[in-house]
């Protein structure tokens, strides 16, 4: 089971969007940046999706400080393709930030890539 945590301004909306996809082997839980940072460090969760106005501030916040830039990536306000996300996951990225006005477009792409990687 791959566990995804969500955080930032649109965390409830991201969790809802991902849940609606009903992906196999993916569990999504609403969290917060501090909480998620500790859980990812401890291995209690696998990925983090954060959202805010810029796509990086509230969404990455403490995570970048505690997990290092090697594990974090922000798409800013752009919408990634599934291949991009797959490549980033391959590079060891676990934390993804994106803009809250792009949740509808970005969250499903990232979640599908995570699910495909886990399967």
């Amino acid at each position: 089971m791959t566990k995804i945590l969500t955080g930032g301004v649109g965390k409830a909306q991201v969790a809802e969007t991902v849940q609606k996809l009903a992906l196999d082997g993916v569990d999504v839980v609403v969290s917060s940046d501090m909480d998620a940072a500790m859980k990812l460090r401890a291995g209690q969760a696998d990925y983090y999706l954060g959202t805010c106005h810029t796509g990086a501030g509230a969404s990455l916040g403490v995570l970048l400080g505690l997990l290092g830039s090697g594990a974090c990536h922000t798409f800013g306000r752009s919408v990634p393709t599934e291949d991009e996300v797959t490549a980033l996951i391959g590079d060891g990225k676990k934390v993804f930030g994106f803009g809250m006005d792009q949740i509808d477009a970005a969250a499903p792409v990232i979640a599908r890539a995570i699910a495909a990687h886990g399967a």
Binding site: H53, G55, A56, L60, V62, G76, D101, Q102
Partner: protein, 456 residues
């Protein structure tokens, strides 16, 4: 012709900057660029987390510049510039985001303030030119934009209700909504001179904070009971877990405290900028400042602070770089202060307290997860209510400028921006559409294809 009469009658809309104001903006831009160069503070909350690697030397100046530009460009051209052009007053996205970038970009220490000052000069002269040009047009969209203030103030009043509903469910949301509505009606009846939403907003925010704090305290009591039930083992595990975060936070707080005098100068500068009434700090505040409603602007930006304290505190403590406007508390204070000298003193004092208290604030917030949650819901609720208010206000402005044709053009441009995946940030899309629509109506007027709607 008729448009000019309207502008003249409104009086308070003369927003051209005096020489001391121009020099203040230029000097402040030099200072913020210098501070950004030293990686002591950046305005963009999204860039701040990336400053840690830069401060610790794990990444280069050019890579950090690229991050800063990438995360800021959309907000400069998609939010700051259209907001400034449609209101005639400055805003932090137009003033501080470019100085973030220029400061980090600058390879030499002495070059940063020069680049910052140059940017300050560009916006000061650009805005003055754009303002006088816009007011001379037969269809005056700056004056039409004053329609914005009623929807902004009244819809913003509801933001605590939205936040409570999202965080604590429908029942408490409905209660908060009913309480606020009663208070708005009562305020209108009992104190007609006070803004109708003032008391309702205060009570709404207090309800949200009370719900959040009581939830956290209940949770803490529960955890303590559990720990006692489980024996001592669990109690020892908790402080150990907190360690990496605590050490990161305290290192950052120490770094910032070392530069306290520079931060006090920054606080004085930002507070002075707000006091000059040529600057609106929040997404919707510019419209209120442009109309001369300083107490309304102060209320909106004061409540907005609650949404940003945890974000700014945690990103600052995690990265070692503070916010250019701090917790943004200096904005509302500045709007209300009667003279510039008081603004300088208060701004410096507020920043001194903020920077000194940062470490403590971080510790308190760490123990109150629901309060941190509340602030995220507050920011979401502010966006939601302002988005509707700005869209509706823009359509009202369109109606004032050009009736049905105005609504068609402005509404149409907004919808096209949505369909194209939001090239312009949603919050600024409708005001930007009003500018484009206003220019188009002026062109049609010159072509004798359109007559301005009404004579004031």
């Amino acid at each position: 012709m008729s448009g000019n009469l309207v502008a003249a009658a409104a009086g308070s809309t003369d927003l051209s900057l005096s020489l001391p104001q121009q020099l203040t903006v230029i000097a402040l831009c030099a200072l913020t660029a210098f501070i950004s160069h030293l990686a002591l503070a950046v305005f963009n909350d999204g860039v701040r987390p990336f400053m840690l690697d830069f401060i610790q030397g794990r990444t280069t100046r050019s890579a950090t510049t690229a991050v800063s530009f990438g995360l800021s460009a959309g907000f400069i051209f998609g939010l700051g510039a259209p907001m400034a052009l449609s209101t005639g007053v400055l805003n932090p996205w137009l003033v501080f985001l470019p100085t973030d970038i220029l400061g980090i970009l600058s390879p030499k220490k002495w070059l940063a303030p020069i680049l910052g000052a140059a940017w300050g000069a560009v916006i000061v002269f650009g805005l003055n030119g754009a303002n006088s040009f816009a007011h001379d047009l037969p269809v005056d969209f700056l004056t039409a934009m004053q329609q914005m203030s009623t929807p902004i103030l009244f819809l913003f009043t509801l933001f605590p209700v939205l936040a409570i509903t999202k965080q604590f469910g429908k029942v408490r949301g409905a209660i908060a909504g009913a309480v606020e509505l009663v208070l708005v009606v009562a305020t209108m009846k009992l104190w007609p001179n006070v803004f109708a939403g003032a008391i309702a907003m205060a009570v709404g925010v207090l309800m949200l904070i009370a719900f959040a704090v009581s939830k956290d305290l209940r949770q803490r009591k529960l955890e303590r009971a559990e720990r006692i039930a489980n024996g001592d083992g669990a109690a020892e595990a908790t402080p150990d877990d907190d360690d990496p975060m605590a050490s990161l936070f305290s290192a950052s707080a120490t770094r910032l405290r070392k530069h306290l005098p520079l931060f006090m100068l920054l606080g004085a500068g930002v507070c002075l900028l707000a006091q000059m009434h040529v600057f609106g700090g929040g997404e919707a505040t510019s419209f209120l400042i442009a109309k001369g409603d300083y107490s309304g602007a102060a209320q909106v930006d004061f409540y907005r602070v609650f949404g940003f304290i945890p974000l700014i505190a945690t990103t600052a403590l995690a990265s070692g770089a503070y916010g250019i406007a701090g917790f943004t508390l200096v904005y509302p204070i500045g709007y209300l202060l009667p003279n510039p000298w008081l603004a300088l003193i208060c701004g410096a004092a507020v920043f001194a307290v903020e920077v000194s208290a940062l470490s403590w604030i971080g510790r308190v917030l760490g123990g109150l997860p629901s309060v941190r949650d509340s602030s995220e819901h507050l920011r979401g609720a502010i966006s939601d209510s302002l988005q509707l208010a700005i869209l509706f206000g823009s359509l009202m402005a369109a109606n004032a400028m050009g009736g049905g044709l105005g609504i068609l053009v402005v509404g149409g441009l907004y919808l096209v921006n949505e369909a194209m995946g939001r090239v312009v940030v949603r919050m600024a899309a409708a005001p930007a559409a009003v500018i484009v629509g206003g220019i188009l109506l002026n062109v049609l007027y010159w072509l004798d294809l359109f007559t301005p709607v009404k004579g004031g």
